[in-house]
Amino acid sequence: MKKLINAPENVVEEALAGMAAAHPHLLKIQFDPNFITRADAPVRGKVALLSGGGSGHEPMHGGFVGHGMLDAACPGAVFTSPTPDQILAATKAVDGGAGVLHIVKNYTGDVLNFEMAADLAKDEGVRVEAVIIDDDVAVQDSLYTAGRRGVGGTVLAEKICGGAAEAGLDLAAVAELCRGVNANVRSMGVALTPCTVPHAGKPSFTLGDDEIEFGVGIHGEPGRKRIKMEQADKIAEMLMEPILADLPFKSGDKALLFVNSLGGTPLVELYIIYRKAAEIAKAHGVEIVRSLVGPYITSLEMAGTSLSLLKLDEDMLRFWDAPVVTPALRWGG
């Protein structure tokens, strides 16, 4: 294992200290329990947005804290959900009197820890709503599984809801918008290489030189099937086909296409994928009116990509375009 770390047990705290040093004007970082808030939290009268999850997916979620996006992020250990005490402390720290929306990716650990935290926060008089993001079409059969996973759609939900909260929508309306984004976004990923969790010290699974993991999750957990490596255009087709079929996307839909790196795949390859994915969407009659390309929800150093397609309505488009000032996303501010 070659990693730019000092000790596996210090990875999260040292990275947080680095974020605090790099973005003092944007972020405040608390330790024990660990959480990140925007520098001006709590914002009086504004619905606060809080998300969290295991570390190792950077910039999600801490990199999305700031004006126009999240009020707080709770990082767990690498690939491990945060704990209720962290989430509770962060919830109280950012509540500006208008309530707190928890945006939770659908993983058993995340859901259980956020549920416990929301119960505790309500006991202390904080209004909390939770929305679970489950946009991963790789999981086909939710009857016999923990349900679809939350992946790339989470980034889009956090941006759009952040814009809405900044515009003054109340807690119920922001939660409703968040559910709407989740209902209209579909994602699918593929891994070219596994990744290594620092404290595990070895890759979480193995892939042959000519193999890829199709339908991979963001924790190095294997996907639905292992197939032979293909050219980029073929992979883009294989990712787009189940996404387009699932919503289903229709001719005339306006959409946002998000091509994400799982950490190890460079931008040059993402754009090759984007080119083909946009072509496929166009052939389907779907008009791509917004895009996001880059490493935004990663799986440590895993090579691979995930595609997310969000059907936009007027509100989503407006709040997507609204100003955002965070370490990882910044425009219009």
């Binding site: 767990g76 690939f79 993983y107 294997p222």
Partner: protein, 205 residues
């Protein structure tokens, strides 16, 4: 071996659990890497180290269980933190007012804890989870006439229950995403649950 579980024995259980889990950390993480995300061993080591650091000298078993539960909830993360945390919190409620636990009381305290896991995780036996080790352990504890027999039988039932998860297809947690590919590996949660009950049998012996 005594016929009663008291605070010193329960404290030595948690110490032994910490040792056993630390010794098997790599094994637990390997099981988790096969069907989950590979963090189960490290998460439990962190949790049980914290438990032993925080335990002090609780007034009675109920206070001990509550401290264990709240510490696990606050330190483990993942799904196992709230699940094991809920188990010990519910055990604390069931043990309220009892300075010591005899065989019948222990069986009911364990049953309450296991029910806590089932409620929090919304799981049933047969779904390749901790419950597949713990549910047979409760039955074994309830059927035993003496405390030593109950602890030994519960540990053995949990061990067999964990082994029985090998061919199962997971329906809960991250392993469920593998579908049929989750068969052929023991469930890490069932395996760590069996270690916990083995630690109790050893600590009380």
């Amino acid at each position: 071996m005594s016929e009663l579980l008291d605070v010193p024995v329960l404290s030595s259980w948690l110490k032994r659990a910490d040792e056993l889990i630390a010794a098997r950390q790599a094994y637990l993480s390997d099981l988790d890497a096969a069907i989950g995300d590979g963090d189960h061993g490290a998460n439990l080591v962190r949790g049980f180290h914290a438990v032993n650091a925080k335990l002090g000298t609780p007034a009675d078993p109920a206070a001990l269980f509550k401290t264990v539960g709240m510490t696990l909830i606050g330190t483990v993360g993942g799904a196992s933190g709230p699940l094991y945390g809920s188990m010990f919190v519910e055990m604390g409620k069931a043990a309220a007012g009892k300075p010591t636990l005899d065989v019948a009381a222990w069986a009911e305290v364990l049953a309450a804890g296991v029910n806590g896991i089932a409620m929090r995780g919304k799981a049933l036996p047969g779904e390749k989870t901790m419950l597949d080790a713990l549910t047979p352990a409760v039955a074994a504890a309830r059927a035993a006439a003496t405390l030593p027999a109950a602890l030994g039988a519960a540990a053995e039932a949990a061990r067999q229950g964990a082994e029985a998860t090998v061919p199962m297809v997971a329906r809960k947690g991250r392993a469920s995403y593998l579908g049929e590919r989750s068969a052929g590996h023991a469930d890490p949660g069932a395996t760590s649950a069996a270690l916990l009950l083995a630690a109790l049998a050893e600590a009380a012996a």
